[in-house]
């Protein structure tokens, strides 16, 4: 009788230890009441040493449950590749990545939602490595995943497997995205005057996207809104007479495509760039174009775009510098003269033409911190003995810097796998 215990039912002291299917139990031999149960053991080593382990630590959990889950997820990988009509080699690569990821304990123990998102991540990585244009938004729509969860899983898996994932190729994405627009054949929902030739629209859209890339409208931004805006402008410019009255939202509805939220802003930025370029062309200067009428001349502007963009940058920079000098001179003059009796409003910014800079540079952020006073330090002053220590690197810093430089040089000398 272990420990002087009594049966709670019949108060008997005849308690025996019995193993029921490898699970040890304390049972009352008189009434058969199970008083306590042990822990299931499934590892041979632990059973041999008579030690108990929890089920999650046992080998059975790794083999049985995970295998069925893995098989289901691998099937989903193959189904997703078939839905996207990817070549069979892509399927095998995506499946290999999933199996590789599944060997990591962090992924194996993750929630089912994460494992399902991992399916999309493996397919996306495979497509990117083969320069197949596929966006994260498309994958998230197909697997019904949230973009935040997808992005976290994607970054984790790239780091975990040490993969080199190239950036999305903009030209390929333009071709794929434009092909999804339903404007190339007449249909009951698309009037005949809105139907356009696919090749012409594609080539003009590519030129507009290249222009947007050169003028800092693409860097750091989601590519799809820019492509949507460029496609809309290309479509309008090919037959402006009947299409200038059509808005971006209506265009997307006709083409059976979702309108991304920032597309309207990208459209305005692109039109502003085109207007700047139009000011450099002599025969367009006299026409006094606006954002609506410049669309008719997009063909001419794109033909000479390299020269026009270069001129717009150079002229814009020179004019800005001249205006800044003028304003500084004016301010000095005002300080000397004193208060003016005419009570004119003080101009905070010079009225200069907008520069071809990244849009965030044209609207600088608000300064939260007060600007430090202008200091007259030139860097050539003598350093006092008490401060000299601050300018000398410690041996640890020298070592760290050398190590970091060596790592940088080694990374540079590595051949580019693409």
């Amino acid at each position: 009788m272990p420990g002087g215990r009594r049966c709670p039912d019949c108060d008997s002291t005849e308690l025996v230890e019995d193993s029921h299917y490898s699970q040890s139990q304390l049972v009352c031999s008189d009434c058969g009441c199970v008083i306590t149960e042990g822990v299931l053991t499934t590892t041979f080593a632990d059973e041999g040493h008579l030690r108990e382990v929890t089920y999650s630590q046992s080998t059975g959990e790794n083999e049985q449950v995970s295998r069925s889950q893995q098989r289901r997820c691998l099937r989903r990988v193959r189904d997703l590749c078939r839905v996207l009509q990817l070549p069979s080699t892509f399927e095998d690569t995506a499946v290999a990545y999933y199996q590789q990821a599944y060997r990591h304990s962090g992924i194996r123990a993750a929630r089912l939602q994460k494992k399902e998102v991992l399916v999309g991540c493996c397919v996306l990585i495979t497509c990117r490595q083969h320069n197949w244009p596929l966006t994260m938004g498309t994958i998230c729509t197909l697997i019904y995943a949230d973009l935040d969860v997808f992005s976290g899983t994607y970054m984790q898996i790239v780091k975990l497997l040490g993969l080199d994932v190239p950036s999305l190729c903009l030209a390929d994405l333009v071709k794929t995205y434009c092909s999804s627009f339903r404007l190339f054949q007449a249909s009951p929902s698309v009037p005949a005057k809105y139907v356009e030739d696919k090749e012409k629209m594609l080539s003009r859209t590519l030129q507009l996207v290249e222009l947007a890339n050169e003028t800092w409208l693409v860097t750091g931004r989601h590519p799809l809104p820019v492509i949507t805006a460029a496609t809309f402008l290309a479509w309008q410019s090919l037959q402006p007479s009947g299409r200038l009255t059509c808005s971006l939202a209506r265009f997307c509805k006709l083409a059976n495509v979702d309108l991304p939220y920032p597309a309207t802003s990208r459209l305005q930025e692109l039109l502003a760039v085109l207007l700047q370029m139009a000011e450099q062309l002599a025969w367009l200067q006299i026409l006094k174009l606006n954002k609506r009428s410049v669309v008719k001349h997009i063909g001419d502007l794109l033909q000479h775009r390299h020269t026009l963009v270069r001129k717009a940058f150079r002229d814009g920079t020179a004019e800005m510098e001249a205006c800044e000098r003028e304003v500084q001179g004016q301010r000095q003059g005002e300080e000397e003269v004193g208060d003016s009796s005419l009570d004119l409003p003080v101009r905070k910014r010079p009225a200069s033409p907008a520069l071809l800079l990244p849009p965030c540079m044209l609207k600088p952020p608000k300064q939260l911190r007060p600007t430090p006073p202008v200091c007259t330090v030139t860097g050539d002053e003598n350093i006092s003995d008490s401060e000299i220590e601050q300018y000398l690197r410690t041996p640890e810093e020298v070592r760290d810097f050398q190590r970091a430089q060596a790592a940088g040089q080694a990374a540079k000398s590595l051949p580019n796998p693409l």
């Binding site: 950036s167 270069r310 990244p358 760290d400």
Partner: protein
């Protein structure tokens, strides 16, 4: 402009995270009841204090570990930590201020030129990661310094590192790489 020429860059430290221990068990419930500006998260097991005058968030754990998230300068960390220690002491706990350590520093630096991110990513592939669909900046990791840099197209760089020296070294190291990918006037 030459990459090797002397360029003075201002590195502005915006946030610092530091940790210290009080070497005694803390009754979080008592501190929460008697303290001001505290939120007691019983399910997670910490006390959150917000000190607005010094732009600080303080996470206090019952084992005596205190994590301090503070904006602005690093030098005031020790002063602020001792100040907090005194506050806890006045509530009857025999605290000892030990194991003060700065664990994370966030700094911002502005380059005098814009940076072409796709070109920068292509030239620095293993360390740089650029996903415009997710984030507008390039994420560059320096493993030897345990530092992470977020490089924006405007030339602004946000550096996160274990201490100020690592942050400064990281900026020194990244400068030639971003200089190669700077915007050229056409």
């Amino acid at each position: 402009m030459d990459a090797d020429s002397d360029v003075a860059l201002d590195i502005l430290i915006t946030n610092v995270v530091c940790v210290f221990r009080t070497r005694c068990h803390l009754n979080l419930r008592k501190i929460a009841l008697e303290g001001a500006n505290v939120i007691y998260k019983r399910d997670v097991g910490f006390l959150l204090t917000e000190e607005r005058n010094i732009y600080t968030f303080i996470y206090t754990y019952s084992n005596g570990k205190i994590v301090w998230y503070m904006a602005e300068r690093e030098n005031s960390k020790r002063v602020g930590s001792r100040h907090l220690n005194c506050k806890i002491h006045y509530k009857g706990f025999q605290v000892i201020f030990t194991d003060f350590k700065v664990v994370n520093v966030l700094a911002v630096c502005n380059m005098p030129f814009e940076i072409r991110l796709p070109e920068f990513t292509k030239n620095n592939r293993p360390h740089a990661s650029y996903e415009p669909e997710l984030h507008p900046a390039v994420c560059y990791r320096i493993k030897s310094l345990r530092a992470t840099l977020q490089i924006f197209s405007t030339g602004s760089i946000t550096v996160t590192g274990p201490n100020v020296k690592a942050v400064a070294t990281a900026v020194e190291q990244i400068y030639p790489f971003v200089f190669e990918s700077r915007k050229e006037i056409l």
